[in-house]
């Protein structure tokens, strides 16, 4: 009996142990499944966007080498910077206006000749290709990032001809719009770094990364306010020119309307002036001048002889009243005039209502057409 008890007890123990082992295995083996998911990792997998911060002096040194002084034959000065390995230098259009070839001076006083291969007539941007600077590693361009207010910046260039000048400041304003004839500056940076004539075309550098943010283009006379064209905005233009150099350069001139008369007179004021001038010339007997104020189509259909005959009996003309309405670049003038006319024996006064249409022709405001009716 004793044997059996021992036997049964030990058997039970064995089964018990077995069961326990089973439970243990059941628990433990699934736990042995250790595989980290290849799909989920805690590591930050987004592309590192950390900006490299460089040493301040290092940036200045690196950048200076790639900023050049641009000289024109007429002695005017500007700056520019190398932006690709083709030897292309970015500068302002106003620096190289109407020049085909320019002299380019690098910081180490080497002189090169550059050719203008791209220039805009409404954005103050131009590209000069300098074969001598080919294969030189260019300045880094901030291709996507736009500057923000408060960004610390450096302006490099040759203000007043002093090469290698560095000034510092911050972006003090964004999206400024200004117009310095003939160029439109849209959404440009306002900077506090002092710049002067000669800085034009120089790079605006991000103090942290050393990348080009803009092209310093204009400065105010008072205070230290400068304007810099964001490079991102003009990059497509610049790159297109680098790829396909222009065969003929545009004439960068002042826009027609502004060049015609000083100040801010409107076309209406000018039209009034032309009509007065017309009658004054008639009164003075200067019919040629009066005739020259007529538009080409009027002149073509009315010879001077005919024109002259029309005023043969008119001794004097007075403009009594004048009203001008403008529409775009053209103006309509309605004038009441009284004319003293000779008859066979006596002279009489006649009143007319004349209507003239004036508009620009080859940059001159001309009397395109006119008609008159007699008033009783």
């Amino acid at each position: 009996m004793k044997q059996w008890i021992i036997s049964i007890v030990s058997t039970l123990l064995i089964f018990g142990g077995g069961f326990y082992a089973f439970l243990f295995l059941k628990e433990d083996i699934p736990k042995q499944l250790t595989a980290s998911s290849n799909l989920v990792t805690e590591k930050d997998a987004t592309i590192p966007n950390q900006q490299e911060t460089k040493d301040f002096k290092e940036i200045i040194h690196q950048t200076q080498k790639l900023v050049v002084k641009i000289e024109l034959e007429d002695g005017s000065l500007g700056s520019g910077f190398l932006y690709n390995d083709k030897g292309d230098i970015v500068t302002n259009a106003h620096v190289v206006t109407n020049a085909k070839e320019v002299k380019v001076k690098s910081t180490d006083s080497k002189e090169f000749t550059g050719k203008v291969i791209g220039i805009s007539n409404d954005t103050d941007i131009a590209i000069v290709r300098v074969p001598g600077l080919e294969k030189v590693e260019p300045l880094k361009i901030s291709r996507s990032r736009k500057a923000e207010i408060g960004d610390e910046v450096l302006a490099l260039g040759s203000p007043l001809g002093f090469q290698n000048t560095v000034t510092t400041g911050i972006i003090s304003g964004l999206d400024r719009d200004l117009n310095i004839d003939p160029f439109d500056y849209d959404d440009v940076y306002q900077i506090s770094a002092p710049i002067a004539p000669g800085n034009s075309g120089g790079p605006l550098i991000d103090r942290k990364t050393g990348e080009v943010l803009g092209i310093n283009s204009a400065a105010s006379n008072q205070g230290t306010i400068g304007f810099s064209i964001p490079i991102v905005d003009v990059l497509p233009l610049i790159e297109a020119w680098s790829e396909t150099p222009m065969t003929t350069l545009p004439n960068v001139t002042y826009k027609a309307e502004e060049s015609l008369y000083e100040g801010t007179d409107s076309v209406g004021d000018y039209a009034e002036y032309v009509i007065y001038y017309f009658y004054e010339s008639l009164n003075l007997g200067d019919y040629v001048t009066a005739y020259s104020l007529l538009g080409s189509s009027w002149q073509s259909t009315t010879s001077y002889e005919h024109f002259r005959k029309g005023y043969i009996n008119t001794t004097a003309v007075f403009v009594e009243d004048i009203t001008v309405t403008t529409e775009g670049d053209s103006a309509n003038v309605i004038a009441l005039i009284s004319a003293e006319e000779r008859n066979k024996d006596s002279s009489k006064s006649a009143n007319y209502k004349v209507t003239y249409e004036l508009s620009y022709e080859n940059d001159q405001l001309k009397i395109i057409s006119g008609k008159g009716e007699t008033l009783e």
């Binding site: 699934p30 499944l33 799909l39 987004t46 996507s144 545009p250 080409s296 001077y304 002259r308 043969i312």
Partner: protein, 403 residues
């Protein structure tokens, strides 16, 4: 007492069986003894052998039982262990295949595999994580498909909104697994931008507007984008040409040049524009030449007129000379102002010749009225007393002042 081995009766207190020589376990035997004595007394001699054998089996059964159980339990556990282990391996394999499938982009299949694995190993957290991730991926894929449909339906603003939302959502995950989604989203972004620009293209009417779109396009590295780029460029050329021709028709050459150059800065070296530029140059030159000629002609005529006014303003219409019965010579006539301006103080200078045609005297007379308008006539007369002969009077010169 009997030997537990052979059943031989043993001598009292003997240590070994006399029959088989086995050692007697006295302690055990003593207890069994009292039971066995009664039973074995009743046993028959024939059944003694079998009983001895049964007794032998029964005797070892208590030992056998634990041993067998141990064997059973160990083998069972071993089999279970290996089974479970291989299940682990299978699950791992399933998981790996699922991950690979997922990375290849077949999320539905990956999910199936993972669910299968999960049914075997419900507690495996990696599986759960992976299923979660894949569920997300499936969701993102569906959103992307929806965006794609919107793009196809040219509902770009809707697509753009959805894309922005999706981007925010995807950005919450930090797994490299989602990188392909960034690529896909970037692709969709390009499609949306290009599509939007294409859609807007028809409404853009100025070079500046188009140039703005051009700079958006320039940042998109895509075939689709370059197609739109050339479309924009050709539109810039067209607008530039239209505008320039309009300016040309109005003889606004500078503005025509300006417009052409503006177009040329984008459509670099475009032949049409360059040709038009040449034409504008020619027309400008022709226009200026024609104008110059007209003015020169006018000036010439004005000079002639002036010359005539100064040298031939007065025409003598009729001139009569007669001597009356008293012998006085009367001369009279009319003159006409043929100038284009009024003249004043017209004076006739004349000479008188006698009957022998000898020069006798000179005289001057003024024309009345004092001022003659263009085309107006005036008269003059004079008397030479005591002439008393036949003779002749000739007008030498006429002087006048031009007003």
């Amino acid at each position: 007492m009997y030997c537990h081995q052979c059943g031989e009766k043993l001598a009292k207190n003997s240590n070994y069986c006399s029959q088989c020589g086995v050692k007697i376990e006295t302690n055990v035997e003593l207890k069994l003894d009292s039971v066995d004595i009664d039973s074995y007394h009743l046993e028959e001699a024939a059944s003694l052998e079998i009983k001895r054998k049964q007794k032998h089996f029964v005797q070892i059964l208590p030992i056998l039982l634990p041993i067998l159980s141990l064997l059973l339990v160990t083998s069972g556990l071993t089999i279970y262990y290996f089974q479970e282990k291989s299940l682990n391996k299978d699950v791992l394999e399933l998981n790996q295949t699922a991950e690979e499938t997922a990375l290849q982009g077949d999320y539905e299949k990956a999910k199936q595999l993972l669910l299968e694995a999960q049914s075997s190993r419900p507690g495996f957290t990696t599986l759960e994580l992976n299923i979660n991730v894949i569920n997300k991926a499936i969701e993102y894929e569906m959103t992307l498909n929806k965006i794609n449909e919107n793009i196809k339906k040219t509902q770009f603003s809707q697509a753009s909104k959805e894309l922005a939302n999706l981007r925010d959502e995807v950005a919450l995950n930090h797994s490299p697994f989602f990188i392909p989604f960034y690529e896909q989203m970037d692709e969709k972004d390009v499609s949306i931008k290009v599509g939007t620009i294409k859609q807007e293209l028809n409404d853009l009417e100025t070079i500046d507007q188009l140039a703005g779109k051009l700079s958006i396009i320039a940042s998109l590295p895509n075939k689709e984008a370059s197609a739109v780029k050339s479309e924009i460029l050709s539109k810039i050329v067209k607008i530039s040409i239209d505008e320039a021709e309009n300016k040309l028709a109005n003889k606004q050459f500078t503005q025509a040049f300006y417009t052409i150059d503006k177009g040329l800065q984008y459509a670099i070296n475009n032949e049409k524009l360059l040709a038009l530029k040449k034409r504008v140059e020619q027309e400008k030159a022709a226009f200026e030449l024609a104008e110059q000629q007209r003015i020169e002609q006018a000036m010439e005529m004005a000079a002639q007129e002036d010359l005539k006014n100064r040298t031939a303003a007065v025409e003598v219409d009729d001139f009569t000379v007669n001597v009356d019965k008293y012998g006085d010579l009367y001369l009279s006539g009319t003159v006409k102002n043929v100038a284009t301006k009024a003249i004043t103080s017209v004076t006739i200078h004349y000479s008188i010749y006698d009957e022998n045609n000898e020069h006798l005297d000179t005289g001057t007379t003024s024309v009345y009225p004092y001022e003659l308008s263009p085309g107006e006539s005036g008269s003059f007369e004079d008397v030479y007393y005591g002439f008393n002969q036949d003779g002749d009077v000739e007008v030498d010169n006429i002087t006048w002042y031009l007003n």
